[in-house]
């Protein structure tokens, strides 16, 4: 841009000189006759040429300014920075043009982010993230402007959807130092500004030496590889991950697409974990837990895919699948004449704001002709938070239909006792984290006793989750906990194993007759 300005200035000076000369020659022609007219005409043509060139340069300058403004606007919006560096389009265009010009181009594509798992909508946090990313951009810009040409031939970067993309041609040693320096700088920035953010940078790197640079849109593939490696690293707590086709395969699909595919191919299955009543000395119900029978990864726990499903809007499909499967299983159990016990199902908080949630549940249960008293709904404490009017009204409607309502993971959230008082729930499930230490820690025992007494005072059943050893059972029995769920009795098992377990297990009194 500066070069263009200088060029324009020089052109203006030259044009001014030419105008001055034309003036002098015209005066001479007028004064002394026509012999200077030829010179006059030549100078006029030259003048026209310069004006045309000047106009072209001006247009270029104006266009450049327009690009700069659009870049500025985007960077200002995302990063609170109003200086120029590339946006994503310009970044990819620049690299593609370089590809076309230099066929033997080599480089590393680096994708990295600064903050882990940010899903907060608080303005203060968003501002901090924006400022942090802005400071990182400052650092990258300074680094790129000051690189030594003997270390790196070229380097570009941009900021795209919360991730920095850096394309750089350098040695592996320089790359290693660069990543170390960027990571150190991110932590230093956070400390300097006292950002209250979950700082965990993850770097995904793709070495594009093996790519066919003439392939159309190769740059998008390269970026995708780097971002996939970054995503993989963030899930496996590897701060630096190199993309390799052995690790990732040639087909890159996001987890979201994998979940959709799994739903279509019916790869999800329902497991059951029995719940034991200490008073009745028998199993009285179970909890339905979804598992993903992935051909690639084996049996996958919901912790690994539920949040992705929630973010991608797939949770309703998964929840409804579980409900349908439970209804089918209950019908089959009834048809076989086996022991028919209620089943509790987890529903995501996102369901409570979906328009057809209640209708879908009622319609499904009605369709399979299941007695509603056999279906129990597990909700989390976060449902009882702000804006509880909607969840309360939904739960009331489902209770009228005949469902039992269980509050899951009780005690770990920001408990609002007033809301719980207003919630028409039937059961409190005490979270596993309280049960874990009751054998050795007196404080934990006191807290659990308090929660059980609290449930009883409200006329609610208490269920202790995550019970794994006999000593815990003994303590909970002493505190008059109603029901136990955990590995001590059984891990979550398939429907067939569950039926066999109910028919033959060492925990129930002899004489419980199977229907």
């Amino acid at each position: 841009m500066n070069k263009i300005k200088t060029l324009l200035t020089e052109l203006i000076i030259i044009a001014s000189l030419i105008v001055a000369i034309i003036f002098v020659v015209s005066f001479l022609s007028f004064a002394y006759g026509t012999k200077y007219i030829v010179i006059d005409l030549i100078l006029l043509f030259a003048m026209a040429g310069f004006i045309t060139l000047g106009g072209y340069v001006f247009a270029l300058l104006y266009g450049e300014k327009k690009t700069i403004n659009s870049l500025k606007n985007e960077n200002e919006y995302n990063l609170n920075r109003n200086y120029v560096f590339f946006n994503y389009d310009y970044f990819t265009r620049k690299i593609t043009l370089r590809n076309i010009k230099n066929k033997d181009l080599e480089g590393y594509m680096i994708a990295f982010n600064c903050v882990r798992n940010v899903d907060s909508t608080t303005k203060a946090i968003k501002d901090d993230i924006s400022e942090l990313n802005g400071c990182v951009a400052d650092y990258l810009l300074e680094r790129i402007n000051n690189f030594d040409k003997k270390d790196i031939k070229f380097s570009y970067f941009c900021f795209y959807h919360g991730v920095f993309l850096v394309y750089i041609n350098c040695s592996p040693e320089y790359l290693n130092n660069l990543i170390n320096d960027i990571e150190t700088r991110i932590y230093d920035i956070s400390r300097e500004h006292d950002f209250r953010l979950y700082i965990q940078p993850y770097f995904g790197i793709y070495d594009r030496r093996n790519e066919n640079v003439e392939e159309h849109d190769v740059i998008y593939k390269v970026i995708n590889y780097a971002m996939t490696a970054r995503e993989y690293g963030s899930q496996n707590f590897d701060s630096v991950t190199f993309y390799s086709s052995e690790l990732f395969g040639s087909n890159i699909t996001t987890e979201f697409e994998a979940i959709v595919e799994a739903l279509d191919k019916k790869e999800f299955i329902v497991f059951y974990q029995p719940k034991y009543s200490l008073g009745k000395k028998q199993f009285i119900s179970s909890e339905a837990l979804v598992r993903w029978q992935s051909p690639k990864n084996g049996l996958v726990s919901p912790i690994k895919f539920i949040s992705e499903a929630e973010n991608g809007g797939l949770i309703h499909r998964i929840d409804m699948f579980v409900l349908e499967q439970v209804c089918k299983d209950l019908n089959e159990t009834k048809r076989k004449g086996r022991r028919l016990l209620p089943v509790s199902i987890n529903f995501s908080i996102y369901e409570f704001y979906a328009p057809d949630f209640v209708d879908d549940i009622i319609n499904t249960i009605t369709k399979y002709k299941v007695n509603p008293s056999l279906i129990e709904m597990e909700i989390t404490e976060s449902v009882s938070g702000a804006n509880s009017f909607v969840p309360i009204s939904i739960i009331k409607k489902l209770k009228e239909f005949g469902l039992r309502i269980l509050m899951d993971d009780f005690g770990v959230g920001y408990s609002n006792f007033n809301n719980i008082k207003n919630m028409p729930i039937d059961v409190l499930k005490i979270d596993k984290s309280f049960i874990d230490n009751i054998v050795d820690d007196e404080k934990s025992r006191e807290i659990v006793k308090l929660l059980i007494d609290f449930a009883r005072s409200l006329g609610l059943e208490s269920i202790a989750e995550g019970v794994s050893v006999k000593e815990q059972v003994d303590i909970l029995r002493k505190y008059h906990c109603d029901t136990i769920q955990g590995y001590f009795y059984s891990k979550p098992i398939s429907k067939t194993e569950y039926e066999q377990f109910l028919a033959n297990n060492p925990y129930e009194k002899k004489g419980v007759v199977e229907k």
Partner: protein, 246 residues
């Protein structure tokens, strides 16, 4: 600093690959080495080749005092005493005992208790909670909770714990007991220095069995999971994103 202690080099190899800006430092007059670096902006020290609780107590205490340690994590392989733990199981340790201590002839002392010390060293409750949460997130399979007993030799048979065992109980424990040779030393040093301690181990074999190649490979695979769990815990401990009222 968070201190990771492994009995052998194998126990800490995973962390050695994860640590950044690493430096080798020496303790106790250049004889023993400590690897220092960063994992997720948390300063981490890795101590290894500490054989026997005698040495571990001394070295861990020295490191705690010199480097301002905030948490001691003992990692590595151990052997199971009872059949409730299988090869490859990851076990989160709740209590740690000395397996070759018996001062019961002294007054007011329990079996395995060093006089003026507790009978067992409980893993820190808060750290245990974070570990449990991280284990649930990362592990595809279930993990176990159990007790760790340390003896000052390579465990070869149940006879090695004859002082503290009776039929199929060890110090009153009927299930999930692991045996190693350095955990209790870490726990004692941490207890004296008033620093939280926790141990997490992978079961390499049953105490009466010998380690086979097939089992070793299975255990190696699990050890990578354990490494990720500990790395993730370090990330959790380092985070500072808690805001009041938000």
């Amino acid at each position: 600093m968070i201190l990771i202690v492994g009995g052998t080099k194998d126990d800490i190899l995973f962390f050695e690959t994860k640590i950044r800006n690493k430096k080798h430092e020496t303790i106790l007059g250049d004889t023993y080495h400590l690897l220092v670096g960063n994992i997720f902006d948390q300063r981490v020290g890795i101590l290894y080749n500490v054989h026997s609780s005698y040495l571990t107590t001394l070295l861990v205490y020295e490191v705690i005092k010199k480097y301002h340690v905030i948490l001691v994590i003992n990692v590595g392989y151990a052997v199971s005493y009872l059949d409730t733990i299988k090869t490859g199981d990851i076990v989160l340790i709740k209590q740690t005992y000395f397996g070759d201590v018996n001062f019961t002839k002294m007054q007011h002392t329990l079996l395995a208790q060093i006089p003026s010390q507790p009978q067992f060293f409980a893993s820190d409750g808060y750290v245990t909670q974070i570990f449990s949460k991280v284990l649930d997130t990362i592990l595809k399979s279930h993990y176990l909770s159990g007790s760790l007993v340390s003896i000052n030799k390579v465990p070869e048979s149940k006879e090695d714990l004859s002082e503290i065992s009776f039929e199929n109980t060890v110090l009153g424990r009927t299930s999930n007991v692991l045996v190693d040779s350095e955990g209790a030393g870490c726990a004692l040093a941490a207890h004296i220095a008033n620093v939280p301690f926790i141990a997490i181990k992978v079961c390499e074999r049953n105490i009466d069995d010998r380690l086979s190649v097939a089992n070793y490979l299975k255990v190696l695979d699990k050890y990578a999971d354990l490494g990720k769990v500990v790395t993730s815990l370090i990330g959790e401990v380092s985070r500072n994103d808690v805001r009041i009222g938000e």
